[in-house]
């Protein structure tokens, strides 16, 4: 139902666009928390041995100081069936690296982080993803039928309950765009997922044009990660009148020492297919 949500957003934008401006607002300052970006992404066709986990700290909302890396933590991932453990080495820059991870589809893994005398744990299953069968460009779809969009075509597997995360980023753009999907209304069908960049008077960001390269990632994700990332994505770029009251999104990393001091972020294990597309003159 991404379409419906986008429509409501578009309605809001069309009516209100003319009267938006950036203002100074005072906000509250919440507690500082550990941020776990433990995304063990296994690209199809690779061995997936090299994996990185990033640890950071949260900051006040308008803080521009980016010095948030967490060092000195111990980070271990365990295969729940055979007990194999993978130590992630502290790289001194907030990154923790392993080179001998062995991904197995459908396998459950556990994450254990020890930091500042507190222990954080999480559990997640490596989720498979189907193949992308076609990538092409067009103009007629999307909200604006004049701008270029990229289409990602794939066939949803027979069994119900597949969840997807899409990551699109144009070469040269500062930020990626995330979209989530599920097969609830589309189970087993061939799905044509499009992505376009709309014209926005408030920024210099322009729609796709011939010569642009867009990088595409399609991740197989678990139901619980879908629930998590869906809220997170819906709150990106702010929450307007027609959207739900924003909430603190809680991930799956539990602080077993002091549950109140929970961590942000997620321990995710995903199979991913990556591709890129160069727009041509049409």
């Amino acid at each position: 139902m991404k379409t419906l949500k986008k429509i409501i957003l578009a309605i809001t934008v069309i009516i209100f666009a003319a009267c938006e401006d950036v203002v100074d607002v005072e906000v509250q300052e919440g507690p500082k928390r550990l941020v776990v970006e433990a995304s063990l992404d296994w690209e199809k066709g690779t061995d997936g041995n090299v994996q990185t986990i990033r640890l950071r700290e949260s900051t006040p909302f308008f803080n521009t100081n980016a010095n948030t890396e967490v060092t000195g933590a111990s980070v271990v991932v365990t295969n729940d069936d055979n007990g194999a453990t993978y130590n992630f080495e502290d790289q001194g820059n907030g990154e923790y690296l392993t080179t001998n991870f062995e991904p197995v589809l459908g396998q459950t893994y556990s994450l254990r982080i020890e930091y500042n005398g507190e222990v954080y744990t999480a559990k997640e299953t490596m989720t498979p993803v189907t193949d992308i069968t076609n990538v092409f460009q067009d103009r007629k779809d999307g909200f604006d039928d004049e701008v270029l969009e990229v289409h990602v075509v794939f066939t949803d597997p027979e069994e119900e309950g597949n969840h997807y995360l899409f990551k699109f980023q144009r070469d040269g753009d500062l930020l990626p765009d995330l979209e989530e999907g599920k097969d609830e209304f589309l189970n087993g069908n061939e799905i044509d997922w499009w992505y376009e960049i709309e014209e926005d008077d408030n920024t210099e960001i322009e729609p796709f044009k011939p010569g642009d390269v867009v990088n595409i990632g399609m991740y197989g994700i678990s139901k619980s990660y879908y629930d998590y990332i869906k809220i997170l994505i819906s709150q990106l770029g702010g929450v307007g009148l027609f959207e739900s009251t924003p909430v603190d999104v809680k991930g799956n990393c539990i602080n077993t020492t002091n549950p109140e001091n929970y961590a942000f972020g997620y321990f995710r294990l995903s199979q991913v297919v990556k591709t890129s597309y160069t727009f041509v003159e049409d």
Partner: protein
């Protein structure tokens, strides 16, 4: 203690009420008196007048006309002067010799006729009403609405009501309204008795009520009479005009956004009249002319006709059809709207017993078409309502209202139909839900002493949810489960389904709803009043957005959603002073609502067949103080309204476990306003020029702002403060209007009038919302304010002939 002897407060109240009713009926027996009854109408157009005072001069005997202009006054034999008064009308006094039961239909005329409604702010009903126990009620005549400045030249009943204490909105550009800290779906909105489910056009910029077709507007903020039921916060009772029964008349207006035309006149000889009013916006035509592919438009149509079979029998047929359309290029097309119809039969059994039977249909539906994904999405709610109401004028001291009604609901929460074979979307139909809501009531208005009047009544309401659909079952009967490790609410594990056939009743609810109010006259200028009411609401609007959208869906109570139950207590002081030129009304209230649903984090309501997995049952409480000071007469008229209030919500984990939403703490309702000050004034310079102004100041609406950020997936993610613990900046604005009636029309049949108005004169950028996000170019976090209206001037030309 023997528990059997203990009655709960509701039962106690019920017993007391029944006993009082019995005593009241007994008191009326054995007196030798006669009755005078009849209908009060406007001399110029034959419209019946609702709320006109009919009194025997020099006594306290009398009352007011009902919705159909009918009155009945019973007094001991004797000679009297029957005095009839109504706001803006000349008082009529008729000498009568009451020695037998008699019928007197009276026509009364306005102070000044035609388009000069502007001056009419005088006389009894717009003053504080002292004797009647009726409190927490706002009655607005359309003349008052017409003299207030408006946005884009569109008269708007709902916006005018928001200038009064206790009524507010959820931010600019929101067409709905909130009463005494209640939610939008807790208002029962009736147009000629038919339920209106969506009160606004064009994404809530305009109300669906065309002021030209409306006779009067009555809002019950509390003390809801027992004849109404089904919503816990308020009743907005809007009545359409019957149509001019004397002359054919054409009214119209040409505005910036839309134009309207109303035709009315006599039909069936002198036996009836009709009214047809139409309104259409033309933004879409302008967009089309400008080559824009997007389009937005609305229209509505009001119809009414009536036929008098004889003195004691009259038929009314009324209808409303409104539709909005919104088109986004070639990819998306949508439309939504209300349709209603009502056939009524007024029957006067005798000079003391009046009755009305209504058969009412209402429907709200929307249709979304997604051209590129090749599917359409439909949703609707339809109800059929049969209602029989009686008013029995037993004696001057005792009047009885009683009746029954049944509403059959048909809910279509959503269906998806592929529109082409190549559509990637599978067809889907959510469970169709059916229910019957019925009510039985009796209510008395009882003059206990010359100074003390009581209004007390009981409503028994019942709700049956019918089968024809499966109901999911869950492990441990818990559709929502708290995950203590992650600290979040998750959907429960479905274990199967129970199938209910069409004839089956899935669940039945019943509630006794006592309503009591008292008025005590302190002296000829002031009175105090107190009231208690209990109300039940069986259908709920599902909306997890901070503001209601036209796409939200209604759902009935059932195995997992309980009826909302409300108790409201109110106390008031009413005072008229300086020869009744000024009036002061002060009221305080305290209100609780049980079983108010709220939504778990990340709830998904679109296309959701099992709503119970997305919600938790919570509660609301609201309290406040309302002040209204009015100047009712003179060249300058107007009012100052001030409301100090608090509205909160709390949702505990309940059977799902865990602390609940927002950690189980109370949080501000999104429409809570601590301070709300409105000033409305009108000045009549001469018969050509008049001026109006509005001044509004409100505490900003509660919102949830970020309280931190972190980097995840190369993006800055905001973490959020507790729910609704921040506030938007204060809202304020000033509007002005100028009315000009050219002198050349003054003695002609054709009358014209120019209305120039400026909304938000000093162009304050009031924030409708502030959203927080990352600047796409710099990556820095920023706050973006959305303001809907800057300064909005508009010009409208109204005509009549």
């Amino acid at each position: 203690m023997n528990s059997k002897s203990q009655l709960n407060p509701i039962s106690k109240c019920t017993v007391w009420l029944l006993w009082s009713l019995f005593l009241g009926c007994m008191s009326a027996i054995g007196q030798t008196s006669h009755t005078i009854s009849g209908t009060i109408t406007d001399k110029s157009n034959g419209e019946t007048l609702f709320g006109a005072s009919v009194f025997l001069s020099g006594t306290t005997i009398g009352g007011v006309t009902n919705e159909y202009g009918f009155y009945s006054v019973t007094a001991p034999e004797g000679k009297y002067v029957l005095s009839i008064s109504y706001m803006g009308y000349n008082e009529v006094n008729i000498e009568i010799d009451l020695n037998h039961d008699m019928v007197h239909d009276v026509e009364i005329s306005e102070f000044s006729t035609a388009l000069e409604e502007v001056v009419v702010m005088a006389d009894e009903p717009e003053r504080a009403i002292l004797r009647k126990p009726e409190m927490s009620v706002v009655k607005m005549n359309i003349g008052t609405v017409k003299q207030m400045p408006v946005v884009l030249g569109e008269l708007d009943v709902l916006k005018s009501l928001q200038m009064l204490p206790g009524v507010t909105n959820n931010g600019e550009g929101t067409g709905g309204f909130h009463v005494r800290g209640g939610a939008q779906d807790q208002n029962l909105v009736l147009l000629d008795e038919a339920i209106i489910y969506n009160t606004s056009h064009m994404f809530r910029f305009f109300s669906v009520f065309n002021a030209d077709a409306i006779k009067d507007v009555k809002l019950y903020k509390g003390g809801i009479p027992a004849s109404f039921g089904g919503r816990v916060s308020s009743v907005l009772d809007i009545r359409q005009k019957d149509g001019n029964s004397k002359n054919f008349e054409l009214n119209g207006g040409i505005g910036v956004i839309s134009s309207r035309l109303t035709a009315e006149g006599p039909v069936f000889g002198d036996k009836g009249s009709f009214l047809i009013a139409g309104r259409r916006s033309y933004v879409d035509l302008l967009l089309k002319a400008a080559g824009d592919e997007n389009s937005v438009s609305f229209y509505d149509l009001n119809l009414k006709t009536n036929y008098s079979i004889n003195r004691n029998n009259k038929l009314f047929l009324s209808g409303y059809f409104g539709r909005d359309a919104f088109k986004l290029g070639s990819s998306f097309d949508s439309s939504y709207g209300n349709s209603t119809g009502n056939l009524r039969w007024n029957h006067i059994f005798n000079d003391r017993l009046f009755s009305n039977l209504s058969a009412i249909l209402s429907r709200y539906d929307y249709d979304l078409e997604f051209a590129q994904d090749e599917f359409e999405w439909l949703s609707s709610i339809t109800n059929y309502n049969l209602k029989y109401d009686f008013k029995y004028y037993l004696s001057d001291a005792f009047k009885l209202d009683f009746g029954a009604n049944g509403i059959y609901y048909d809910f279509n929460p959503g269906e998806v139909n592929p529109t082409a074979e190549t559509s990637p979307v599978n067809p889907l139909k959510l469970d169709q839900k059916k229910a019957l809501e019925s009510g039985l009531y009796v209510s008395a208005e009882h003059k206990l002493s010359p100074k003390l009047t009581a209004q007390y009544g009981l409503r028994y309401s019942a709700f049956s949810r019918f089968g024809g659909q499966p109901i999911s079952t869950y492990a441990n009967n818990r559709p929502v489960v708290y995950n203590p490790e992650l600290g979040i609410y998750e959907r429960g594990e479905a274990t199967g389904e129970t199938n209910f056939d069409k004839g089956d009743v899935i669940e039945t609810f019943g509630n006794i709803e006592p309503r009591v109010s008292l008025a005590y006259l302190l002296n000829e200028e002031s009175s105090i009043k107190a009231g208690y009411s209990r109300t039940a609401q069986y259908i709920h609007l599902l909306s997890n957005t901070s503001s209601v959208t036209p796409l939200d869906v209604w759902t009935p109570s059932g195995p997992f959603i309980k009826p909302q139950l409300s108790n409201q207590y109110a106390l008031g002081y009413f005072h008229n002073f300086k020869d009744m030129v000024y009036s002061l009304e002060v009221e305080t209230y305290y209100k609780t609502v049980d079983n108010r649903i709220d939504y778990i984090d990340g709830s998904d309501l679109i296309g959701q067949n099992t709503i119970e997995t997305e919600i938790l049952n919570g509660e609301m409480r609201a309290y406040g103080l309302e002040l209204l000071l009015r100047k009712n007469e003179g060249d300058f008229t107007g009012w100052i309204a001030y409301t100090l209030s608090k509205s909160e919500q709390r949702t505990l984990g309940g059977t799902a476990g865990g602390p609940g939403i927002n950690n189980g703490n109370w949080y501000n309702a999104s429409f809570d306003r601590t301070h709300d000050i409105s000033l409305s004034g009108a000045y009549q310079l001469n018969d050509q020029w008049s001026f109006g102004t509005n001044l509004v100041f409100q505490t900003g609406r509660p919102v949830t702002y970020p309280n931190g950020q972190y980097v995840y997936e190369d993006l800055s993610i905001a973490s959020y403060a507790p729910r609704n613990s921040d506030r938007l900046p204060a809202y304020h604005r000033m509007d002005v209007s100028i009315n000009y009636k050219p002198r050349k029309y003054q003695n002609k049949r054709f009358k014209g009038e120019w209305v120039f108005s400026v909304y938000n004169l000093y162009s304050r950028k009031n924030a409708a919302s502030i959203s927080f996000g990352q600047n796409l170019e710099t990556g820095a976090n920023e706050a973006t304010r959305t303001a809907i209206f800057g300064i909005v001037p508009s010009l409208t030309y109204n005509f009549k002939f």
